[in-house]
């Protein structure tokens, strides 16, 4: 099966699937951060990892990539990939511009961009019909519905679902055919729906970007439980559901722009993002928030400054800056979890 890589959760993977190509999410652990000799050290580690991976043949099994212009670092990834296209195997490269505000006109403009993405993919994979896109939307809706159910389980105090398990499941999502994954996700839900884990663990929400392979494990090995991940590889990976529309591009544009926002979003959507953080904290009965901000990501850095400066809630927020591959300071996490445990005891 042909494969098309995508980098950002604002990429409508339904179009790739409808083209008959497997959408492959390029995760934080797939590239080669230290092999980037093109973009330089003012870029975030995720983008450097992707660029380094492309330059060292890590993505040679892909037939193409869709690079979302979602932030200034991704912009340079698109530049670098295009500039070195003659040395990089995946021959299709499409840059998809993503609006930063949500309005009637931005949704319409983004729909036009998604249509152009489809047209570019058609050059490689042949015609993509509206029906095929609708079928694909259905497939992803099923995945979304299953995750909503899993999320409901995670909201319970005695949940048996761990963050580490979800991280593993998400990893499969990034590289598995949506139909197969839908079944795997549902099986996971079935295996957990009646299970309980009465251990009294501090419940943590993680906010960040593409993630870090040690982060969730470190939290859970330190005696905490990651109950909601507001990450590109967490809840932000899924758009919501919409009412079916005559125009599937408009439908996709709307659900992707309306989803839980990345810190890249601006204006009312950014403010809604801050509010959503506080709503999620309540829904998931969170004891503490760990904001894992990626170095050189101006959007995250600005968001946590805003969050910390305007925070009036009583939920402790711990900010750590790091990279996708950096080791996590275990001692720092231990002491944060310890603090949450004490607070939790006091509350009881």
């Amino acid at each position: 099966m042909e494969k098309t890589g995508w980098f950002c959760s604002y990429t409508p993977v339904e179009i790739i699937d409808a083209a008959g190509s497997l959408p492959v999410g390029i995760k934080y652990d797939s590239g080669a951060e230290h092999e980037d000799v093109l973009l330089g050290d003012s870029m975030c580690s995720y983008v450097r990892s992707c660029m380094g991976g492309a330059l060292t043949n890590k993505y040679d099994d892909l037939n193409g990539v869709v690079i979302a212009h979602s932030c200034e670092c991704m912009r340079r990834l698109s530049d670098g990939w295009g500039y070195k296209q003659h040395e990089i195997k995946p021959d299709l490269i499409h840059t998809l511009d993503i609006p930063k505000v949500v309005s009637g006109s931005s949704i319409k403009f983004f729909a036009g961009g998604i249509k152009r993405m489809k047209e570019d993919l058609e050059k490689k994979y042949g015609e993509i019909s509206d029906d095929a896109i609708r079928k694909s939307i259905q497939k992803y809706n099923q995945i979304r519905q299953t995750f909503e159910k899993i999320d409901e389980l995670r909201k319970k105090e005695d949940t048996a679902v761990t963050g580490t398990e979800i991280e593993q499941l998400m990893s499969e999502y990034f590289s598995t055919d949506p139909e197969k994954f839908s079944k795997a996700a549902f099986d996971f839900y079935e295996s957990k729906k009646d299970a309980v884990q009465p251990a009294d663990l501090p419940r943590v929400m993680i906010i960040g970007g593409p993630g870090n392979s040690s982060l969730i494990k470190t939290i859970e090995n330190s005696g905490g439980l990651s109950v909601v991940e507001n990450l590109c590889t967490g809840i932000r990976a899924f758009a919501g559901e919409s009412e079916p529309k005559n125009d599937p591009y408009l439908e996709l544009a709307e659900i992707y722009l309306e989803k839980t926002p990345c810190p890249r979003m601006l204006g009312d959507k950014a403010r809604a993002g801050i509010k959503e953080i506080s709503d999620l904290a309540k829904e998931y009965k969170v004891d503490g928030i760990l904001y894992f901000s990626m170095k050189f990501c101006a959007n995250m850095q600005m968001q946590w400054a805003l969050l910390k400066n305007s925070d009036t809630s009583e939920i402790p927020i711990k900010v750590m800056e790091g990279d996708i591959s950096s080791e996590i300071n275990e001692r720092e996490i231990h002491s944060f979890i310890k603090r949450l445990k004490k607070r939790r005891k006091k509350k009881q």
């Binding site: 330089g40 003012s42 601006l266 400054a305």
Partner: protein, 445 residues
Amino acid sequence: MNTAEYIKQENTEQRKKQLENFLKVNGLEDIPPSDAVKMAFASDFNELSPSAKRGHVNAEQFFNAYNMNASGDFEYHHVAWRSLFVPTEIMYAMGLTPYTTEMVASQLAMSGAAVERIETAEANNFSGDLCSFMKTVAGGVIEDIFPTPDILLTSTHLCDPSAKYAELASEIYKRPEFILDIPYGIYDLEINKKDEKDQKRIDEAIDYVTEQFYEMINFITDHTGLELDHKKLKNACAWSNEARKWMDEGNNITLYERTSAEKGIKELDYAANLMQTWGTEKIADVYKSRYEEYKANPRSKSEDKVPRIAWFHLRPYFKNQLMKYLDEKIEISGSQVNFVFFDPIDPSDIIRSIAKRTVMHPAYSSVTARTKIAISQIPEDTDGIIAYYPKSCRHFHGGAIMENEMFKKAGLSILTIDGDCVDDRGDDFPIVKTRVDRFLKMISK
């Protein structure tokens, strides 16, 4: 008292205090604000040099934002905070005074007052590797030294933090913000256009921004009561077109001919592409005076004494030895931020024409596209390029390696200096001087 009156009164009171705060952080606390204004305008505008005229216009607008006119008297202004690339003609046509915070950050750097603001921001959760312009602004907001805006108008080009900071300011001042979402890469599409589908996307992008301008006009009216005056808009565009013409003519002299007029680093401070003065009568005068000065002082190629260098991006604004040294060693023949990339505004379709100019900003395109323009514009007798990129600037610094390769392939020598424009904490002149000397030695060969 209705809401508009209440906001006006609140702004008036706050701006009075904020100007005092601003003067204080600049070590001018003993000077009454009205005297500070008079000091800034000691000379008659018409008697000033072109560069001083530019400074005069900026200073006048700066004090206006604090409700002071050039005589030091009170005069209420509806102030719109603006990020660098929001077009200003519509603002003038609606009676708004723009206040560009990034420009004020450079002003604070010039007076040696930026680093303390940066430290304030860093002490208040703003990360060390954020853009230093934005940290200066964030620190200034926290210290309350800027005039409370009536509204905030920002755009998504070119960089992420320049739009994001408005969220902070909007929350602190409790004033509404409007964001222009500018599509990326349309200039790339224009120069690589293959078929009618590409043209359709270009048109969609211009339509999208045009629509947002109309939304912005309604937003301004809703929140300030100010309405678009079509006659004023026409005038603003006529002045912009005139300013554009003189800027371009002046650039042609410095780039393709020669002038013995002393330009020095002041040439960089026109930074025409970033200015909030487009759409004013005075800026047309400034650029015309510049052209006339250059034209009146011709110089032949045989009189070249130092290498002719095209300058990319901005300069360090803090007190530094580098620019003084370069002033003796090179002649700045062209500047990226003075490049007139846009067509004149079409008076028969003004809003769409401004939208087109906004969308087609070549700096908001791929590194390949923007480098291609530079290669096509820089004449053969230019000796090299110096690019001064802040390390905190993902947009420019992140493209430096590709740009270097492309220029070298095109036979253009380039020196990229990793620096900062407002934060002097990492300034190390001896190291940079070594690199500059090696570069100048290389191009002299």
